[in-house]
Subunit: 493 residues, 2 copies
């Protein structure tokens, strides 16, 4: 695997001595065996050992750690639960991991204003659990919601199966309290629909830990719908399923969720969760409706009409909450299920315009032949967000390299089709090269100037998310800008 | 009125000579009588004469103008239709106005992807007109939508009566093409739900012309709902009307519009538009529902139940599209209607938490006594966005100063109640002092660093939107930070 260039050289002894001055012993890890669990996040193919892991318990300690690192010129990688899939929390070999794991308190749940203030280390699902007594919940629901933290969600601007209707993290966070690399606190956002001044809230959300360290998050809560039902539709033909997705949106319906699985994904999942998926179908579509019973009944009947007209050969509607959860269970467990049938898998995260779904699937099938690897496909179809799961065996020489090249092809084709290299998992270390395909020099320069406005020494999560122009020049020699020449055959897809 | 400090000294002869080299004669105004129409925008109380007005016809000319001004160190104020209400397009006395009026082409309307690419000088309503043949429209609908331009909407992050359900400009713009002050083009955003890299799209939207000049805007289009109906409710008591707004939202209903008018506003409007408003009511609420006929019928019945339970004494539902438009006509014409009954009015734009509406109205009534001026109130109630219209006569000595102080009191009370100084009109020149109340030094410093990342010489719309720390220090000597001491009696409201 490729490793980023690095310009940092840290005197470890000095660093550790200084950290010991500001953190009690139980808040600082420096021994190899203690550091090992932090060497990667959910993207296990990329690893590095940090020099130290800090586990601050107070905002004052966060400030002290950041000031110390700023003074010494030491890289800092903030970390939530480490469930990220793009290597955003992978340590820097010359740096410190700043774990927010102990910032795990729910500070307030306000029923009237429908907001909750939480620390960044609070798990996504715990917010909804705390809001449940008031009939409220936190809408963004990444598949990892049992484990992933709100701080990580903010860093990656996480989505989930319900983000088509309820929005991404950026649409559900109202306010952030942030510590800069220089140890200064600033608060951004507010209760108003449009806070005055530049929209630093949106700028910080999804910035992958490169602009500041969040110590408090105020989120919007939404009322739990009275009812939710799922339609499960089977298609003999993947292209028709893709067209059905476009047709639902074109009919003016905004489902609470609109997800798709191909045959390989359904086959992997069914023995694992027994959701009752149609294993003969080329594609399965799950379409959720929520609201009052009347609203749901009306929307479900419209959805079924569109699906039937689009060529679905089998339609089932969940008849109970248990059945609805079972329908979803398969989709939510797709990653671990694929993990059971292959030693390793590599999850991609491209987006494409909805109407090009069928082309993309045909191209992925061709890539399976080219690279000699299988790929199962699950999609947040309503958003055009693909999660191809490329199956490989890391113990076989050359397989990881083939999987990585397969993934790069998918991402670059996503850009060529008018989409992007990441829908919700972030760029991290994984897609840093593909950023050179996504953007031209002026946009990358604008990103670097914004970075410098917050972190002039580039200490916060360096070598992630935004590639240097030098790196892109190198990468451009291997591959080609904006995918034009990489896919000369694009018209035939 | 107060005027901002200025540090620019421009050699007008050199500037004009240079501009004549890059613009044909019909694209450059330099004579006093030609400049006069540009001396203010919709905030007519603040005026300045620019040194020149440029009316470029091509992106190349925009680049040339910006490069020239950058080289000479001359301030540039971009301008759309000049309908803004916070003085954002007020010229700089040592600078150039860059009018985008001739960038008035609709470049593409794409029915399949439901997007339109337009130049910034296209009028808001013209986008919906161009999309109408496809059953689509552009959702954000500021009251000035007949005249205001998309470029101005982007600069101010405009809303409108439908933004409660359909979002502000930032939620409806997918992509921007921007020219930097150095004349470099960059493109931000894209079709994907979450473009990789920092969210520069959200950063630019609402940045009030301080970060770049937009030359192309790609907007999202939405399907026209089959049906829309409005419920008009009368209340004997303003506090009950405020509580009804909170109750509708609390019931999980997101109306397509939720607006409120007080007695003074209704009295001003009714003779003008003959909307059939109840002139005995202390407050009138308009609540719109849109969707399929079934959805609308169900939502309207829920809305009426909530309104009745909240104490509405009269309820009417629009029975035709003509009646619906008539109900809205009064709300949309509130500003000109108030303009008919007073020589001048000063429109404020604070936001407050919905549940504090009644307190705010009681406080405004007290301020009317204090300043000896009348105030009519219209609200985007669903968003907690107030538009108090303070009536005064500029020809009477001291009246404008009293109106301005009245407005400052409203804005600072908005902050003290947990809201903000602007919901949708922007800060501009008008609310620059109140930004010192809204934000503390670290946030203002972050704004200035972001500004410097895009415009190091501070030439784009200088002395607007973000106050200097020096200005805030001065203002703080007169008034008090975050409103704490300004409203010691706050608890009693």
């Amino acid at each position: 695997m490729s490793r980023p260039e690095s310009s940092f050289v840290t005197d470890r002894a000095t660093l550790v001595r200084r950290l010991k001055m500001i953190l009690p012993a139980h808040c600082l890890l420096v021994e190899d065996e203690d550091l090992r669990p932090y060497e990667c996040d959910g993207l296990t193919a990329y690893r590095a050992m940090p020099l130290a892991v800090c586990l601050p318990e107070s905002e004052g300690q966060v400030i002290d750690v950041l000031r110390t690192c700023h003074q010494l010129g030491v890289p800092v990688v903030a970390r939530g639960a480490g469930t990220g899939l793009s290597g955003g929390a992978m340590p820097h070999a010359e740096g410190v991991v700043l774990s927010l794991a102990r910032f795990n308190k729910i500070l307030r749940v306000d029923r009237d204003s429908r907001t909750a203030a939480v620390q960044p280390g609070v798990r996504n699902l715990a917010v909804s659990e705390a809001a449940a007594p008031y009939g409220l919940y936190y809408a963004p629901d990444p598949s990892s919601q049992i484990a992933c933290t709100i701080g990580g969600n903010v860093a990656e601007n996480s989505g989930g199966v319900h983000c088509l209707k309820y929005g991404l993290t950026v649409h559900n966070v109202l306010r952030l309290r942030v510590v800069s690399i220089e140890g200064e606190i600033f608060e951004i956002g507010g209760g108003a629909p449009d806070a005055p001044g530049y929209d630093l809230l949106a700028l910080l959300i999804g910035s992958e830990g490169l602009l500041g360290v969040v110590t408090e998050v105020t989120v919007k809560l939404v009322p739990k719908p009275e009812l939710a039902q799922v339609v499960m539709a089977s298609f003999h033909d993947v292209a028709r399923a893709g067209d059905a997705v476009a047709a639902i949106i074109a009919a003016g319906i905004i489902p609470a969720g609109l997800e798709m699985m191909d045959k390989a994904a359904a086959a992997a999942v069914e023995p694992f969760v027994k959701a009752g998926y149609d294993l003969d179908a080329a594609a399965i579509l799950l379409c959720e409706s929520d609201g009052t019973p009347e609203e749901v009944a009306e929307e479900i009947s419209r959805v079924m009409a569109v699906l039937t007209a689009s060529g679905a050969h089998d339609l089932r509607v969940s008849q109970s909450e248990a059945e609805r959860l079972r329908f979803w269970a398969g989709r939510k467990a797709a990653f671990p299920a694929v993990g059971r049938i292959t030693p390793d898998y590599y999850c991609m995260d491209g987006t494409i315009p909805r109407k090009r779904l069928a082309e993309m699937l045909a191209a992925i099938a061709a890539m399976e032949q080219k690279y000699g690897l299988r790929c199962a496909n699950v999609f947040h179809a309503g958003d055009g967000n693909l999660h191809p799961l490329i199956m490989y065996d890391a113990s076989l020489p050359g397989e990881w390299e083939r999987a990585e090249a397969f993934g790069a092809d998918i991402l670059e084709l996503s850009v060529a089709l008018g989409g992007s290299i990441t829908g919700e998992h972030g760029v991290g270390i994984e897609k840093i090269n593909q950023m050179c395909v996504q953007y031209a020099t002026p946009e990358l320069e604008a990103f670097h100037r914004v970075k410098a406005a917050f972190d002039e020494k580039r200490l916060l999560n360096p070598e992630k998310a935004v590639p240097s122009l030098h790196r892109c020049a190198e990468y451009g020699r291997m591959r080609v800008h904006r995918g034009e020449l990489k896919f000369p055959e694009l018209e035939r897809f």
